[in-house]
Symmetry: D2
Subunit: 366 residues, 4 copies
């Protein structure tokens, strides 16, 4: 495995397993001179951490009750409150790791999990809590993304990134009120839909099952020209970034899969004189990306999230020797990943943009 680094100039490297001593990573390539507010970084981690409460203070029933503070310790690269240009090492210690919950899975492969593929690839696996393939790994991505956002906010004062749940447990959001997102346990921008999603998820939870979701991400304030054709296009790297998140099974930009049924005369975003924000497109079927580069419009993409694979119903599987058996997964698990994956999506998208923004500084010489 040598795929634990993302980025070319702004680079995030991560390590750590669900039940190891600590998660952590290294952020390299952050320019010097940026003001670093560690509390703000911690806040990003808090949005992702397990066992978070619902905005109304009640237990959030869609997320795991594992109790981790996910406190980041920054070990280098910051001096007197500023980035120095040197690599930022950090750790996020594990504290509430109940290894005993996982003894059964040492011998059997959990359906829908990476157990089988890890074993096939490496011949060995840290089975405790999913080891490296656990969603806990994404805490480090959120840390990396927090630094990326500091850079993006400096480079693009209008920068704003907002992901929200547009579908969960089969229920679709129908309105978009940004202010609602952090007010419900699903991070859904439609208050009424959120309520229905919560009810449906509680029902699913009570049956020991889980469900999928769709999350939409919108990014404002990025100037035109980010993305490096022909292989490191903005959409290409966003797609890599998103599909590298465990539960994500698809991504679409702008009109996405609907484009298949459209005519060119419908799809092409007609252009107009720049408005006060420098915006030159009348519509946004392109999702803010043309030719693999940001076009100055809002960047819009949606990702498909599969149901949490850890469910408590009995499942058919095989053990390490290849024999068929059944298993029931215990432990504390999420029911729907949408609310906790949203900060991860925002983080990975920010990492992509930060890296491409730095690369873009070299695109022309005036």
């Amino acid at each position: 495995m040598s795929g634990n680094t993302f980025g070319k100039i702004f680079k995030v490297t991560t390590f750590g397993e669900s039940h190891g001593a600590s998660l952590g990573g290294v952020i390299d390539g952050l320019p010097a001179g940026l003001d670093i507010d560690i509390e703000k970084i911690q806040k990003d981690l808090d949005r992702r951490k397990p066992s978070q409460k619902s905005p109304d203070g009640s237990v959030n029933k869609s997320v795991t009750q594992r109790n981790e503070s996910d406190t980041i310790q920054i070990l280098s690269g910051i001096f007197e409150g500023k980035s120095t240009g040197c690599p930022i090492g950090f750790v996020i210690p594990n504290s509430d790791a109940h290894s005993s919950d996982y003894s059964d899975i040492a011998e059997k492969f959990r359906p829908g999990h990476a157990d089988y593929t890890f074993y096939e690839k490496y011949g060995i696996r840290d089975y405790r809590g999913g080891g490296r393939s656990s969603g806990r790994e994404t805490a480090c991505r959120v840390a990396g993304g927090a630094f990326a956002k500091i850079l993006l906010e400096k480079l693009f004062p209008q920068f704003e990134i907002t992901a929200s749940t547009t579908e969960a447990a089969g229920i679709k959001a129908e309105t978009f009120d940004k202010d609602e997102i952090e007010k419900n346990s699903l991070r859904c921008a439609d208050k009424n839909a959120a309520k229905k999603m919560e009810e449906r998820i509680e029902e699913i939870r009570s049956k020991g099952d889980s469900c999928g979701a769709i999350v939409e991400c919108r990014i404002k304030g990025i100037k035109a020209g980010l993305g490096e054709p022909v292989f490191d296009k903005l959409d290409a790297l966003l797609a890599q970034a998103m599909l590298s998140i465990g539960a994500i099974k698809g991504i679409e930009f702008g009109s996405g899969f609907e484009s298949a049924g459209m005519l060119g005369s419908e799809w092409n975003d007609q252009m107009k004189k720049a408005d006060s924000n420098g915006q030159v497109f009348k519509t946004n079927h392109a999702g803010g990306i043309l030719g693999g580069m940001s076009n100055g419009n809002e960047i819009v993409f949606r990702v498909a999230i599969k149901p949490v694979p850890s469910i408590s119903c009995e499942q058919n599987t095989i053990d390490k020797t290849g024999n068929e058996c059944t298993m029931q997964i215990k432990g504390r698990h999420d029911i729907c990943l949408a609310p906790r994956i949203i900060p991860v999506i925002e983080a990975m998208a920010s990492i992509v943009l930060a890296d491409l923004a730095l690369q873009n500084l070299t695109s022309k010489i005036n």
Copy 2:
């Protein structure tokens, strides 16, 4: 722009513009000792080349009538019919470049094209035929993919990759007969649907319009374990590879966006004793990928293709000075990209797999 190389060990670098002297590239990292059949490579290029006939010998009306032989000249890396381990340089000369067709677009940005973003990023653009952002660039990807396939066929004797059009111009394929694919102008595995697509596309063409499509790709014979968590996962790199192709606006694996509405108990592919092909999954909602690694099952993904942006209707746009204007695009263009993008999809997927197959040789030491 420093994004013209794809891969870490098996690396494909490409260059070339639509109306420049030549396209070309370098394939580095192909292991030594492989038998290289140049005719077979040329055949792959022929499947993508413009102005190809329909299988029945008639003019294929969904594709551009630009006349290019797309003949590959291999300049290095092959000796006495075998790969030597040295980089393979190749060129694909341009011959039928009508620069005169493109004079109007020097000053105006074509809606739906990369004209505006290239200009914003670089301050200069080779506007002839779209320059670097032309679909012609993908000829080099097909060349790279042809070498990747030679490697994959050696490593995985059961390897087979097949992409086909499952939707075009709003018409969906309903059956899958692999033998039909190369028998119709859409590369659709459903004979009847193909006929309807052709009719509908002819209608669209006659109005100067264009249409989108969906292509599905299925890959057999890949053993479990390819993919490098956590960022260079198989699905992550396939997503990067696909979204790096100009017209593709979305990708989904296995159950993809449908996963959002499924329960964990439906989605999780239950496991069983290995069958004669080593297959251990009862279903394939995962699309052959778990934890970012191939799981031995068929790898299945679908991509959304936007309508060809070059249409002959009048469009609203702006010129280089930012003033509003209208334009009509002339020249010879595709109506629906599906048939010609299929070899590109197969090529890029093969490049990803070849690179990950080589990386996988280092995953464990016995």
Copy 3:
């Protein structure tokens, strides 16, 4: 700064400053299934750590008396004593950082140090103990090298790497007795020369001065063929690796700079039937590398080490505003880097070889 990762498949990423909370890093790409003996890794670190005693138990006067245990804490990637294929995160906490010693250098640039260049590049620098440019950073390289050696010992049972001081303070070693190396404070293979070096260094130390050295590294047991032409040749990457170590100002392979005065008929290593070790060369002017690849012979290179720049004599310099001033450097410093740089040289060479050994697994398909 985005240069804190070394390697393509076996990758070592490091972070940390002299007086920060902790040094650390990530080792990615180590194959799964290797037995990891953490005590052995710690022993490598002990060979580099400051304030180490002379082999006879006396104070080693050529090295700094800063008191650091350099204890490595491994945070991930090892399970039940074996590598899992997942990234290995580690930290080496700083404990004895006397920041007060360094207050003067906040405003002035120390001659021979990286103070000026860091300030010019980043506009900010962590001046405490040299920050990122401190030799302490190399502790992480030694950790990385320890893992590389585990891999190399598995792949090449005859693998053996030995660096020793061949010149220090102007005194040259004249004999080579490998068993002597760890018996004297200079890690010199010539007992008598070592004694003279020690005396001369004590003299230099008493005057507040420092001195340079030459270290030779010999590597046995590597099979022919490691190295990736034309840019990632074995000697090219060893040169990068060595020159990336702070104090090293030159490298030569085999006959090195003497080659300039030789004839082709003298230089060319004549070949012979393979001996029992598979050795086919009669001489070794090439230093074990031909065409950028190991040739099966002993790999031999020498590096030039500049005098430690921290000296207590008064020096002429400038301050941050550009005004001339003088300064005297206080604190605890090495006099001659040779003994402590030797484990770093062995580590970096091992990292290069481990990476190329893994890459070489993909060079041909049989």
Copy 4:
């Protein structure tokens, strides 16, 4: 072999064998908007090409008489005389390839050449003229370097790079007159020494032998701060770049190997108020590099060049089956590489600097 790309942002990829159809490569990451003078690029290639005349018009007896025009054909990336930001593909066709000269070496390994290592690594080799390991490969480096220099001249108006022969055939240059360099066949800055070198080389040539050399490279006008600690330091990458050139066996910066015998009080370059060129160092033992970054002083390094391995005396070797035999190398060969390797050294150094200059644009945010 996947090592045919150099650089991270400004990237040069090369391909081609001595007796294949063509050499060539791709230059990626050159910023858009630079004026490209192709004649100037060709002139750089002419300085390296075989069979060049002595400056006085006579046959240059130190170089091979193979007759190649080394004409570069640029295939992409330039539009209306300017770089577009798109990759620059180029070819340099082979024309005077006498394959018949090399039939003997198909079965035997030439001492001092890469024949044996290529065969061991790949199990196959293009033996004609050394195949990929031929010095002809460096023509592409010179092409890449020519583009790098265009960028450097734009970024650093005072930029100047000059390599010259300081020792050849055992004779050392004692004076440095830059204007002499292009006036003698050795590219030596000492007129008298050059004459003696020429005589000595003619003597060596007449005996069918060859000789080594030392070349010094001086680079002016680079501002402080180029280089990416801790692994991609300026000296580290220059060392990689130089040692990746076939015949180079060592490199030293500034005082280099002499540093070993110096005291810190002698070595440390004392600092002073900036002069009119911004120069702040009184001496230059560091060779213009501190902490792995340019310090604004002249960058100075020397490389050791081994004797040309192709000599016509009878040599002892083995054949592919491992049996001992003798061989005599025929064909047209250089006697001393110094004059032709000088443009390659300048090119590779320029590539390193161009890449680091672009990376440096991201080092701080003001």
